[in-house]
Subunit: 406 residues, 2 copies
């Protein structure tokens, strides 16, 4: 039986050196980021999806896992792609589609890369997989590690929210609760990764881990039957945009679509390094960031991944936008009231940033736009709204209905 | 173009009187509960599912909505049905399957009935739909009302949890926040329903609203290709068990399966009226209930729905179990650690109750058992676990991995 995967090698994004398809986190020649190269002729000859498979494994040939025995799944079906003409018209994006990632098991797009992370950990003989995270990535990695029977060893600081801490405490085989911030923990974690104590489930450099996120683009293609004009991604480390666009560019190279969608980067205004570089035309400049409600975009220094993200946006005629926290929260509620979709703040950033780009004239109003809603609002620790209780009566219902006639 | 639906009339569960298929909440002859009767020959002639449809509308002929223009969907795909042989063997249920309803848009099985509630509200010309609920049912009804462009007018007490209140506040067009308990509000609400100010989205009596829940059984049949020996349902008002078993019995009557699964009712021990009646062989006795972590099963007086649930369990050779809160919480964590599924407490009750029935010898160890996991754990307001932070170092990772050799 042949390999399930059409992956052929690792290639450096900087010096283009090729490396064998082994567990390797950086280019041996120049230290650059690696991406996985696939046999496009083989992908072109096969049907896009495989019947009877779930999760990212519906696109198994596009993933870097050779043996189906290493696949791990929680039975994920394609996430909804919803037409939103009413909301779109109001925002100046009449041909708007929403890709709702909240339907995934832990409520975020991270469940796509966690499937490839844990499957690749198995493939390369690891018995543990880990990540340093404030909560979402950690609970996602731990979830798939549990399902696969591997150890999920995740590092989370003790200032995370109660709901995230409870989820992690429930699902992870080991949680390293630490005092301090990400930068304090990532150094010893990376040292443990170098010693091969555990498979790297982080977003900074592991080419195998991130591959699952390509499937958000492949699903859109499968659901829509074509490429949209734009695809809007939330950007923290840039992983989703990079992976999604790799899939679209491969479909373009194979002739399945005439042209890949133009990528749109969406960030919180508090962490808008890509947007600032794109607007100024200059290089990416790290910034010291403060609090933002959109935690998933709270990355002030994206490092090499950031430079690659900016390069790809420029090469692919993309756009970069941002949204202030109050715009994000207003969009979160508007999305709920208008379409019923309850997004977390990070999940509402792409639509808030796209609406601003539309208002500013950067986004063509005739364009077909697929906008990711990357996170469910069910995950949040929300403050209770400030409401006043009323005495139960028919009259309070009458008033809520706005009826004066009864 | 003919009707999408094979529904033909309403029938009283007590006196068997038939009524035309209009919006009616009780039998005109005896006041009994009504159920919808379908043309089984027509269902038998059609394929089970309809391609290109999502949500409960994949089974449109089995739903009471005639015109597809009234359908409402958030793009729901079938929820995962996961084999859990490792966990099953440990619990004495080796042929265990888990049906994970947390993948639905608001994270619970209620999204199935909310689809039929809102579509039927449209069908019968209502511009508003409402419910009295501590949170989950209200946010689900409000979600689909928003998507359909109807008004969602939901009544929620001010002692609900912050996360539920924030969700409701975000998604509902009107929330009646009230002081008091359910019993205080349901009387004026029912009066508003009688006046036809709004469509009844509650679980007590509306035969149209509940139909969507049949699809949990139809999906299991579609995914498994057969009927299991048992299907385990969480029981609050009994709606899911009643609806699921109606679908199974119809499949049996059509000859698509040899025999419907035996239904298993699962309740919190704090609200175990069905379990107590089943064990004693006597009638259903309401009880005054206190706090239970499994909020979705916290019904002390199920009324007519409870009597019907008990009758059907007895007619169909079913079982009834319960679980103490500490068993439920232990099962919640075990399910997460072993399979990666993060359930809310209500969602863990069926498995906790089934495990107890297996221990007590009531559940045949050779049986194939489908157990609902009816609610996502992402919805919870959890207390933060009691953890102590450590100083970041390679050593804390080494200890978490249990490595002594480095």
């Amino acid at each position: 039986m042949g390999s399930e995967s059409a992956a052929v090698c690792l290639r450096c994004v900087d010096c283009a050196a090729d490396h064998a398809l082994e567990y390797r986190l950086a280019c041996a020649a120049c230290g650059g980021l690696l991406e996985i190269v696939y046999d496009l002729a083989r992908l072109a000859d096969a049907p896009l999806t495989q019947a009877g498979r779930t999760g990212v494994w519906r696109f198994a040939a596009w993933m870097p896992v050779h043996d189906a025995a290493n696949f791990v799944t929680l039975g994920e079906e394609p996430t909804p792609l919803l037409a939103a003409p009413r909301l779109g018209a109001a925002l100046g994006i009449p041909r708007l589609w929403l890709k709702f990632e909240g339907a995934l098991p832990t409520g975020t797009v991270k469940d796509r890369s966690s499937q490839t992370a844990v499957a690749c950990a198995r493939q390369f003989g690891f018995d543990a997989v880990g990540v340093v995270s404030t909560g979402n990535a950690a609970s996602s990695i731990a979830t798939y590690a549990a399902r696969a029977g591997l150890r999920g060893v995740v590092c989370c600081y003790t200032r995370s929210t109660a709901a995230k801490m409870a989820h992690l405490h429930g699902v992870a085989s080991s949680v390293v609760w630490y005092d301090g911030v990400y930068d304090d923990m990532i150094r010893p974690f990376d040292e443990a990764v170098e010693r091969r104590w555990l498979f790297d489930g982080g977003a900074t450099r592991n080419a195998f881990k991130q591959e699952g996120k390509k499937t958000v683009a492949l699903e859109v293609f499968d659901q829509l039957g074509r490429a949209p004009d734009y695809m809007v991604y939330p950007v923290g480390m840039g992983e989703t945009l990079l992976a999604g666009q790799r899939a679209w560019k491969a479909l373009e190279a194979m002739g399945r679509i005439a042209r890949a969608p133009r990528p749109v980067s969406a960030q919180s205004r508090e962490a808008n390094t890509i947007a600032e570089a794109w607007r100024s035309g200059g290089p990416l400049r790290p910034k010291t960031i403060g609090y933002t409600v959109a935690e998933g975009t709270a990355v002030g220094d994206m490092g090499a991944k950031g430079r690659l993200t900016l390069r790809r946006i420029r090469e692919q005629d993309g756009l970069a936008g941002d949204a202030a926290d109050e715009e994000t929260l207003a969009m979160q509620r508007r999305l709920a009231r208008t379409e019923g979709l309850w997004a977390g703040p990070t999940g509402a950033v792409p639509l808030a940033a796209a609406a601003r780009l539309a208002r500013e004239g950067a986004l063509d109003p005739d364009a077909e736009v697929v906008c990711m809603v990357s996170e469910s609002g069910l995950k949040g620790d929300w403050p209770a709204p400030d409401v006043r209780g009323q005495q139960p009566s028919l009259d309070v219902i009458r008033r809520a209905l706005g009826r004066g006639d009864c």
